[in-house]
Subunit: 377 residues, 2 copies
């Protein structure tokens, strides 16, 4: 039971454990079959106000939330391009943090990369040292690296950066926000972003951005911000019209509204606790397997393990295809490793509306693959 | 009956006649309540292939179709930014063609504007003259200007432009494609774009782009194309993976697949004829009103009237609020005039799955407003 009333029906028998898109509750999917409304009328304004208020809660901010019809990659680009920055330091430890560097290069910026091993989080002191040496006007980081399941200490990193520099700080919390507490303002993040299809458990199609006054000031000096990826014009439209600048993915907005009700009904604190417990359940399950002499470990070191996604290193003789194929008859889906780790890792998205009961079912279904002869090194 | 078999159930009693988003058939909306799938698996590849083939048919092209999760405004920006153009000529006759100029300016291009009266289409000779004088490397135009209901002769304009210049040609067919025949290749358009929520009658959230080899060549020389609005990286992902580059609006893709089936079942030719007939029905209705001494006229001159959206000038003493309010009890919705024409015009979107029967109901419901004492000048 959440503190606000009866717990909403979560997904007790989930099967779809990708690290995104995650499984979406039937009632949220069903909201997308509602007839459309005008994107300029009073009904949209009421919906928009509801979404604003709800997303401010989820994103731990009192700032207006830019609700964009796009994937979160577009928000990453918006942060980089609109900022007007010329020299960016990208903190890299996996595929999505690396994408920032690709976007920045494709946008004509000078890019410096601080790469750490993919099982590690970034260390504030090292980051501070790099910032002092490189002199960036923008620093990008990924809060929860979906490719590795590593959680970065965004607040500590931001403090370290600000100690050395007034560079703008961008944090991608795509698989974080909605699954754990986030505080862009208190953390000192200038552009905080996420997407709809991960820990929010809403269908993909929406992305969210929160910008600081500092970001707005810097962006104003950039005359070539474009339109669709310019937070300023969207936030201005929201302020003036109480709605979106262009026609949004209206059906996704309906889904988000239903999901915000459900999240608030469970209570955000309860939701975050549930995610931490699912993470612990994976840890316990791995310990149990290892106590039987089986090999399995989380890529992320314990202090940095994400509560929303666990990336597991497979034993040498077990590959991700075998795991995925082994699960298929029971209807379970997990992700393969990302990119270069495709074969040797699997990724379990225990986020959104998934429950300990549902995750328990998955882990039980996963166990035989690890026990199979091929898997004992 | 369409040539391919039984006519699909269209919307015979439509009420939602906005010029976009338009009314979406219940079966298409319902497709959005399907459980999500991975954006990287074989199911997505099969879906993507289906959408490609279907959209190639609708867009009259054999080129790959960039399916973007965004509004069509993002495609307009993609055309302008990715092209690498420095000097753009914007053909303007309404709000959406003007948006191209705003985007180009916000992207740092030098912008020249050829503006004609909003009831007019652009004249090829005048355009050719401007192209010769201005020397643009990009020309933007809107095929069907949703703010005025004027259809531009894209093919003739493109011929005129090419006579004078090798400027890239961008055509926005947001409320055109899906409602009338389009031929980006035969017309010589280098970047042809549309959105999902107009004549395609799919919920908003998707936009589509078709680029010419000439556009690709020019864009390759632009090192600062970014990522999300770069057609080249998306088309490359489609080629290499048979799917999207980033997580798309999956529920909207489901809706599009169902709608393509329905469109093909009716037959595109039948669909286009139906739109022309709805346009003629509006013409006949206006003629009937005028024969009773009532004032009403289409903004667009007859040869340039769009088959998908009719914008009507109201009598001086009737304003759009009164019309919209008058319709509300019967559940009908039409659009007010766009921007500066908000009060003095209404816009009827007779597009997508709307039928002559449904439109007839709307026109009948509209008639009393024109007959009311306040409306006789």
């Amino acid at each position: 039971m959440g503190p606000e009333g009866p717990s909403p029906a979560l997904i007790e028998d989930g099967r779809f454990f990708l690290p995104g898109p995650t499984e979406v509750h039937a009632s949220v999917l069903q909201a997308q079959s509602r007839p459309l409304i005008s994107h300029r009328g009073s009904e949209m304004q009421a919906l928009w106000a509801r979404l604003q208020e709800g997303m401010q809660g989820v994103l731990g901010t009192s700032r207006p939330v830019w609700i964009s019809t796009s994937s979160a990659t577009a928000m990453m680009e918006a942060a980089v391009r609109a900022s007007g920055a010329e020299r960016v330091l990208c903190l890299i430890a996996g595929a999505f943090s690396r994408r920032f560097a690709r976007i920045a290069e494709a946008s004509g910026l000078v890019v410096e990369r601080l790469e750490v091993e993919p099982h590690q989080a970034h260390a504030p002191d090292e980051v501070a040292e790099w910032v002092a040496r490189v002199g960036p006007d923008l620093v990008t980081m990924v809060h929860c690296e979906t490719s590795t399941g590593v959680l970065n200490p965004v607040a500590d990193l931001a403090v370290a950066i600000r100690r050395e520099s007034d560079a703008l700080i961008v944090a991608d919390s795509v698989s974080g926000a909605g699954g754990l507490p986030v505080h862009p303002e208190a953390w000192g993040v200038d552009f905080f972003l996420t997407g709809s299809q991960k820990a929010l458990a809403v269908p993909p199609g929406l992305a969210f951005g929160v910008v600081s006054p500092r970001f707005v000031d810097r962006a104003r000096q950039n005359p070539a911000r474009g339109l669709y990826l310019d937070p300023l014009v969207h936030l201005e439209a929201q302020r003036e019209r109480g709605g979106p600048m262009t026609t949004p993915a209206i059906s996704c907005l309906f889904a988000l509204a239903v999901q915000l009700d459900r999240m608030e009904s469970e209570g955000l604190e309860e939701r975050f606790k549930r995610h931490r417990k699912m993470q612990a359940d994976v840890t316990d399950w791995m310990r149990h397997l290892r106590s039987s002499g089986l090999e399995v470990e989380r890529v992320a070191a314990d202090p940095f393990a994400s509560p929303t996604v666990s990336v597991l290193r497979l034993p040498p003789r077990l590959d991700s295809d075998a795991v995925v194929r082994g699960l298929a008859p029971s209807g379970y889906a997990v992700g393969r490793g990302y990119g270069e780790w495709r074969d040797g890792q699997i990724r379990i998205g225990h986020m959104g509306d998934h429950t300990r009961a549902g995750l328990g079912g998955l882990l039980e279904a996963l166990t035989p693959a690890f026990r199979s002869p091929g898997s004992t090194a």
